[in-house]
């Protein structure tokens, strides 16, 4: 179950030791990273990073290039397993279970925590087969797969655009459509969390806005964590924002985390202020 009764997410950094003064039972923490350290071989990419992601909210990770945003995000679904020689300490809790533990069923975890990548990466298969890929693996019935494909394509606003050419190759779609198809593909296995790593960085402004609109629609049902370089996008589209920065040893740290409004309008840390006002570096 989710960790209920914790103080709102953005205060956890300061109150990690102290108990929260007022329990707020209606706040559900879906994903809770606690003092996470991450190593690529000898290089430490994250240092004591903590982040409490609220369920059915959009949490944005911002910060300069190389500060470990992608690394942090990929810890949540254990994609770092693909890179040999990596090591993680600390805890990332989902429903009370530590994702980083060696006992974690990675396959199940990744069904629960979906991912959207920086570049749209549809399979060189038909539109239908792309979305049906996950359900097919899960062994769902044909009828259920058909339903879920339609549902996911509707959820991503693609259905009307592609319903007459479901059997055609997904590679003929535009970049924005491809990215929405990838989102539909991720949603088809019914995840609870969707991780997005700069999902709009390769898209034009209109396609970008379309993705942001979708995020707003989807957050009623999904918990979304998005990495973005685009500060306007974080300010526009997210409920919470975490600002990350490298320390002297180039390890990424979470400098400040709170409601997006506070981070952008009333940052507590001067480094956050420097970054969001563009005075950084």
């Amino acid at each position: 179950m989710a960790v209920n009764g914790r103080m709102t997410a953005w205060t956890t950094m300061q109150t990690e030791v102290a108990p929260p003064p007022v329990p707020e039972p209606n706040i559900e923490i879906k994903l809770d990273a606690r003092k996470v350290n991450f190593f690529y071989g000898d290089f430490q990419a994250l240092h004591d990073a903590s982040l409490s992601v609220q369920a059915r909210k959009i949490t944005a990770l911002i910060g300069p290039s190389g500060c470990g945003k992608t690394t942090f995000l990929r810890m949540f679904n254990r994609m770092y397993d693909l890179v040999p020689g990596t090591r993680a300490t600390g805890e990332v809790l989902i429903d009370g279970h530590n994702v980083l533990s060696p006992e974690t069923d990675v396959i199940n975890l990744r069904r629960q925590v979906g991912m959207l990548f920086q570049r749209a990466n549809p399979f060189p298969k038909s539109i239908f087969d792309n979305v049906a890929y996950g359900p097919h693996m899960l062994g769902w019935s044909k009828q259920r797969i058909n339903e879920v494909v339609e549902e996911s394509l509707k959820d991503t606003g693609l259905w009307n655009e592609v319903k007459d050419r479901l059997r055609r190759s997904a590679l003929n779609l535009s970049g924005g459509q491809q990215q929405r198809l990838c989102l539909a593909r991720a949603l088809a296995v019914k995840p609870e969390v969707v991780l997005m790593d700069e999902p709009a960085s390769a898209l034009d402004p209109i396609a970008t806005l379309r993705i942001e609109e979708l995020m707003q629609e989807l957050k009623e049902r999904y918990t979304i964590v998005i990495v973005t370089h685009n500060m306007q996008q974080a300010a526009r589209a997210s409920d919470f924002t975490a600002f990350m920065l490298m320390n002297q040893k180039r390890a990424g740290e979470v400098i400040e985390f709170g409601p997006t409004d506070d981070i952008f309008n009333r940052p507590k840390d001067s480094r956050t202020e420097d970054y969001i006002t563009g005075r950084f570096g």
């Binding site: 994609m79 693909l82 040999p84 396959i107 975890l109 990466n121 060189p124 693996m137």
Partner: protein
């Protein structure tokens, strides 16, 4: 700035004519190579002409190989070539693909990947006569005493495994060919599999697919064209391989359903008989076999190259 265009102009002229010289040399070299190829094929055709005019296309359907009566046909040798190559691919394809997947995909191998690849290249470089020597003295007795009797006990009811095993014949030759094409098969398939864009692999794994599911549903379909190319290139090698096959196939002009039987292949007929071929028709028939072999291997190799090119092109385009 005034001097800039002057400098640029003075540099430009020699560059342009240098380009021209280079392209003339490049086109000249390409034309020369094509010319050599054409001359070679013609040079092969001319001595084959006596046989071509005498036997025509019937050469391909005739099983006769009778130097005494001066009657020749290629069917027996074509049969041997096809059967041994087929056996080679049947063995080398699954093993080679499995090894290639293992080499390309298994993250635990990252440290030994280099040495393993080097080993495979090393295997590919072993002269075929050495493999033939090994096969003749070690593999043949092993086949006769162990493998063939075992096959006869288990699947001996099939016509393929009837007859007395001598250790020589189609099966042993096919096995030797399999060993010889395995390094090519592994190295090429490994490269093809590694060229599959990482994003696709990640997309599949991020959806909760297992490694096996990812390989089966994403990597192999994507790499199919390239892997087909690798198989064809291996086939090209198997079809033309001469000496190692000649040492173990038994060199008997016969077509037999049994894989334990001795046979002949196109290259081994040529290798064995060119010194004793007397008369225009006999020698011509050997050249005719050569023409057939060259045509088959050219077609197979060109096809293989085209497939591999097409694959690496499409891999790059969507990478």
């Amino acid at each position: 700035m005034v001097p800039t265009p002057l400098v640029a102009a003075s540099h430009q002229r020699p560059l342009v004519s240098g380009d021209r010289v280079f392209s003339v040399i490049a086109y000249g070299a390409a034309a020369l190579i094509m010319l050599i190829a054409v001359i070679f094929i013609i040079a092969l055709f001319i001595p084959a002409l006596p046989a071509i005019t005498k036997f025509g296309l019937g050469f391909f359907t005739s099983r006769t190989w009778d130097p005494v009566r001066n009657q020749f046909g290629a069917l027996t040798a074509i049969y041997g070539t096809l059967v041994t190559s087929a056996i080679a691919l049947l063995i080398a394809f699954p093993i080679g693909l499995g090894a290639a997947l293992f080499l390309a995909e298994d993250a635990r191998l990252s440290l030994v990947r280099g040495p393993l690849s080097f080993l495979i290249e090393l295997l590919a470089g072993i002269p075929s006569v050495v493999i033939g020597l090994w096969a003749f003295f070690i593999l043949t007795p092993l086949m006769r005493d162990k493998v063939d009797p075992f096959l006869q006990h288990t699947v001996g009811f099939l016509a393929l495994f009837k007859g007395t095993p001598t250790g020589y014949g189609f099966l042993t030759a096919g096995l030797v060919l399999a060993i010889m094409v395995l390094p090519i098969m592994i190295a090429l398939s490994r490269d093809v599999i590694r060229a599959v864009p990482r994003e696709l692999r990640e997309a599949s794994l991020a959806l909760g697919a297992t490694n096996a599911e990812t390989i089966w549903s994403v990597i192999l379909p994507y790499a199919r064209v390239g892997i087909t190319g690798a198989v064809l290139l291996s086939l090209g090698r198997a079809l033309g391989e001469t000496i190692a096959v000649t040492m173990v196939i038994g060199n008997t002009m016969q077509i037999s359903a049994s894989l334990f039987a001795s046979g002949y292949t196109l290259p081994s007929v040529i290798a064995n008989e060119f010194t004793e071929a007397t008369g225009n028709v006999y020698l011509g028939s050997l050249f005719y076999l050569g023409v057939v072999l060259v045509l088959i291997t050219i077609v197979v190799n060109v096809l293989a190259r085209l497939l591999i090119w097409r694959f690496s092109g499409s891999a790059r385009a969507s990478a």
